[in-house]
C-alpha cells in the first residue's frame, strides 16, 4: 500500500460570474512535503486554497483531505488543518492573548488547556511582551506571527499558508521562512502560495505554477529549472565588428540559439565544462572578450517564459 496523500485535488473549477477564476486544477500533496502554489497576482491561488479549505464551494471538482471528501465531511476535514489566510484573520480589537484564548476555545480546548496553549504559543512566536496590547499597535510581522500561531493551536498535521510573507520586510521574511522550516522538521505538511520565486525555490519540495486559473507546470524546483537547460553564459566582445564572426563560431559549438544584443552574445550550456572549449575557440579566432558572465537558470526564467505578458 502506498502512503496516503495529504491532499488530492481533482478538477476544481470556480467561476465568478463570467470570470473563470480556477479552471480545472488538479494536484496531489504527499504527507510531510511543502507544496508551493506559485503564480502572479490574480492567478487563482487564493480561490483554490479557499475551496480546498471548505471556505468556498467549488462549481465542480473534488477535494480529499487525508482521504476524506472535504465537501461531504466538512467539519472533520476542518479539524485536520490550520489555515493562515492572505489577509490577517485575527480580531483587531482584541489582544494577542485574547485572540489565542478565544480561538483555542473555539477549537474545542478546555479552559485550562486553552490557557496553557496560549502561553506556549506566545513564547514560541516571541509575542510575550506584547501579549496584552491591542493588535492596533502591532507591526505587520507581529500580526502575521500571531495569525500563524492561531492556525497552529491544535498542532495540525496540515497547514495552509496563503502568501505568508507578502508585505513583510526582508528580515521578518526570513524569520517566517525559519518558522516554516521548523514546522516542516516537526513533520507538518504545508501548502503555501506565493508570488515570489525565490520563496518557492527556498521552501517548496514540489511546485505547481498557476496562471489564469490553470496549472501551467508542475514539478520540483530543480526539475523546472532543468527544463530551461544548463547555465547561461554571456560574452561581451571587445570589438563590435567581430560580433558576426563570433556568433557563427559559437553556433557551431552549442546546441541552442545564440542570442545577440549589442556586443553581448549569450548561449545556453549543456554543462559548465563546455565553457573552456568555447573560450579556446574564440581565443584561436583572435576574438577579444571584455566581460564574461555565467548565470544559473532561475525559477524567474521558468516563470517568465510561462506567464509572460498575460496578466
Amino acid at each position: 500500500m502506498t502512503t496516503q496523500n495529504a491532499i488530492e485535488v481533482s478538477h476544481l473549477i470556480k467561476k465568478f460570474g463570467e470570470k473563470v477564476a480556477v479552471n480545472d486544477i488538479s494536484f496531489k500533496v504527499r504527507q510531510g512535503e511543502v507544496f508551493g502554489l506559485l503564480g502572479p497576482n490574480g492567478a487563482g491561488k487564493t480561490t483554490t486554497l479557499r475551496m480546498i479549505t471548505t471556505l468556498l464551494k467549488a462549481d465542480s471538482g473534488q477535494v480529499k483531505i487525508f482521504g476524506h471528501d472535504a465537501a461531504k465531511e466538512g467539519r472533520l476535514a476542518r479539524s485536520m488543518f490550520g489555515l493562515t489566510g492572505q489577509y490577517a484573520s485575527v480580531d483587531e480589537d482584541l489582544s494577542a492573548r485574547q485572540n489565542l484564548m478565544i480561538f483555542s476555545r473555539l477549537n474545542g480546548l478546555s479552559r485550562q488547556a486553552a490557557k496553557e496553549r496560549t502561553t506556549e504559543l506566545l513564547t514560541e512566536f516571541s509575542l510575550d511582551n506584547s501579549a496584552d496590547k491591542p493588535l492596533k499597535a502591532f507591526s505587520g510581522g507581529m500580526r502575521r506571527r500571531l495569525d500563524l500561531a492561531v492556525s497552529l493551536i491544535t498542532r495540525p498535521a496540515l497547514i495552509f499558508l496563503d502568501e505568508p510573507t507578502t508585505g513583510l520586510d526582508p528580515r521578518t521574511r526570513s524569520q517566517m521562512w525559519d518558522t516554516i522550516r521548523k514546522l516542516v522538521d516537526q513533520g507538518s505538511t504545508i501548502i503555501l502560495t506565493t508570488q515570489y520565486l525565490d520563496e518557492a525555490d527556498q521552501l517548496a519540495d514540489n511546485l505547481a505554477i498557476i496562471d489564469h486559473g490553470q496549472v501551467v507546470k508542475m514539478g520540483t524546483p530543480a526539475e523546472l529549472k532543468e527544463q530551461l537547460g544548463g547555465p547561461r553564459v554571456t560574452f561581451t566582445l571587445s570589438q563590435t565588428s567581430q560580433v558576426a564572426a563570433a556568433e557563427r563560431l559559437l553556433a557551431t559549438q552549442v546546441a541552442g540559439d545564440v542570442q545577440e544584443e549589442g556586443p553581448d552574445l549569450s548561449v545556453s550550456l549543456g554543462q559548465v565544462a563546455q565553457l573552456a572549449t568555447l573560450l579556446a575557440t574564440l581565443n584561436d579566432a583572435q576574438i577579444g572578450i571584455s566581460h564574461l558572465a555565467v548565470q544559473e537558470p532561475s525559477l524567474d526564467d521558468v516563470f517568465m517564459s510561462l506567464t509572460v505578458g498575460k496578466n
Binding site: L55, S89, D93, G108, I153
Partner: protein, 257 residues
Amino acid sequence: MDVQIHRGNVLQNTATMAYRNLLKTIHNPDQLMDVVIQPVLFMLMFGYLFGGAIAGGVKAYLPTIVPGILIQTMLSAASGSGAQIREDLDSGVFDRFKSLPMARIAPLAGQLFADSLRLLIAAITSLTTGYLMGWRPGVGLGWVVAIGLLAIFMGWVLSWVFALLGLLAKSAAAVQSVSLMTMLVLSFMSNAFVPMKALTKPLQFIARLNPVTYVITAIRQILATGSWTHEAWVVLVFGLVIVAIFAPLTVWAYDRN
C-alpha cells in the same frame, strides 16, 4: 504531545462567541455611544421641544414619550446588529471562524446574545433619563422592570430581522442606511411621540398597521394599570412568531454566505 480536543458543542461555541463580542465592546466603548447618547438626547429634545405643545408640559408628556423613546432606542440598538454582522462577514476573521471545526451558527448566535447587553444599557439609559426628568410611573418598580424586559425582548426580536438584512446586504454601509430609514419610519409613523388622536386620518391608518404602535400601547397600559394586559400578551406572542419566522431565515442566509 497532542493537544486534547473536545468537539465543542453549540452552546459552548456560542458562549465563546458572545464573550468575544463583549470583549470587542469593552475594547471599543464608543460602540455604545449610540445606545447611551441617543436616548438622553431624544428624551431631552422631545421633552422640552414638544412637551408643551403636545401635552401642555414636560411632566405631562413624559408618560407618552418615555415608552416611545424606550422602543425607538431598542429599534436603533437592534439595527446595529445587522451592520456589525456584515462588517464581521467582510473581515478576514470570519474566514477563520468558518475554517474552524465549530458549530457554524455560533458566530451569529454569539453576536445576537452579546447584543442583549447593548439593549440592556439602552433600556436602562432611557428609563433613567425619564426618571431624572421627572417621570414617576404610578406602578411599582417590578412593573418598570417588566416593561424594560419586554422592550429588550422586542429589541432582540428585531435584531434577528436586522441580522437577516445584514446578511443579505452588499455592504455594511448599505445596511446602515436601510436600518436608519427603517428605524425612523417605524418610530415616527407610530404613536411613539404623538397620541393616536392627534394624528391625521391617513397617518392613523399607517400607525395602526405599524407593530411599534402595539408594543408602545402595551407598555403604556402596563404602566397605567399595573397589570399584564391582553395587549402585552399579544405583543409577546407576536414577538415569538417573528423569531420563529426570522431565525430560520437568518440562519439560512448565514449558511449561504
